[in-house]
Amino acid sequence: MDYAQFLAMKQEIALLVVFLIVFLYDLFMPERSRRALPAVSAVLMLIVTAAGFFCDYFGVSAPTEAFAGMYATSPVIATIKNILNIGMVIVLIQSAKWANSEGMVMRRGEFYELILVTLFGMYLMISARHFLVFVIGLECASLPLAAMVAFDKSRYESHEAAIKYILTAVFSSAIFLMGLSFVYGLAGSLYFDNIYMALMGHNTKMLVVALAFVIAGIGFKLSLVPFHLWTADTYQGAPTSVTAYLSVISKGATAFAFLTVLAQAFGLFYSQVWEWMLYALIILTITVGNLFAIRQRNMKRFLAFSSISQAGYIMLGIIAYNALGVAAMMFYILVYIFSNLAAFGVIGAIENATGRVSMDDYNGLYKTNPRLAFTMMLAMFSLAGIPPFAGFFSKFFIFTGALQAASPAMYVLVLIALINTIVSLYYYLLVVKAMFIKDDECVIAPFRSACSERIGMWIAVAGIIFLGLVSPIYDSLIAIAQSSELSSFFLK
């Protein structure tokens, strides 16, 4: 028994330490100091993040495995976790006002605890090299979220969203497990590496069905069409901070985990099976997400559909199946975190101040709250991929990664994705239009948003502006991706 193996899980441990501190802080501190809980958790996360960047997590410079290959970490994994950490910090900062609000005080501590646990679950998903760990990670990342979605007790929507979310989540995990049982039946093991080896030579219908179920199960978390239908309702109903968290962190983590699963367990079937499955799913996801986004008036619902189609773009990095694609995907996730959080920051600020979330409420926002409008506009432009904002670079790189394959099918796929960017530009511009061009009698009155919200938005805006222009960020990501253990799968 070598329990020292737990030391390989530095990031997870750091996170659990944060969790524990928050837990204890919430338990034992007097009510007055508990108001500082958001700040405490944000600072702690910030420390973890900074440690990730500056101390390289005490040496995760090479791929490491633990628990006989059940758990793995490597620079690329550490990086993606770091990216999630950054998003987490912003989410924590942005949630402060809401968490300290009247109705939330009772549940403030639990919110931070649960959110940290879900992040832990995502870490596990990313690092898992065994399906049991993966499943636990997946559940860990979804179940507490259901509780968080239901946090807004004063709003009926919150409950409806929660029940929709948890029912679909459990259902999808049933389907996923079904697929997994087939995989097990074929391979006789749940270790990714063993599956990879055992499936060599197999190409049965059972495998295809299993893959379809596995993809469906993970696609649920990524909100790939047609497994996405919970997304909009849940996003709309959930508290804004939770929605933000769901839309960026959860999605980013799952995307990367998805890649890991597909590459490391089913890498052999890339060109025969799952490339085509993803091909269809990406087209569906981008298109349907866009088509629904057009008609939305509720900002959160709107961003839900936008995030669905963004997930499609993220998937391009997976289907590219090369180091460029992985780097582009990480970069995309990073940029997406900042852009989406900027948007949610604005939505949250406005919701907290006025309780309004409809796009029509935003009419003429620029006249009264120019900075909020500007932030929102930058977020929209970044999401739409307009230079010089970061979204442009991430889109460009992800397309570049996808096209490295140079197959005609990939060109068609990218073309469809590109055409969809026009549709997406349309609805992002609708928001800009509402804020800058339209006018309304009942414009949201000028207000000063909370300090925490401002900090969150400033960080997000800085990211939107600088992430793309400052090239070392992407350069280092690509260096990491090229050196990663995933690269060895791409060659096979």
Partner: protein, 103 residues
Amino acid sequence: MEITALYYLVPSLIMFCCGLYGFLTRRNMIAMLISLELMLNGVDLNFVIFNRFLFPGQMEGMIFTLFGIALAAAETALAIAIIINIFRWVNNIDIRELNQMKF
């Protein structure tokens, strides 16, 4: 006559499909959860069967089932908590009436 793995798989699969059917058709949310349990149970059975018949030397399937049961329990508990919450709001647990958010 020999009872092969295939025979064992039949009830498990049917259980899964029944659960699916129930989940898709029942109005009562708790009934839906019950159906979900059926599905999860079917899956568990699958694991066990595969383990026992095809890979008897190890116990991954069994362990997985063990964890699966725990997961099912956790899921159910949380789901029921939320359902009760809903019930407090609308005094009803008919899933079809939970459609305020749509389109």
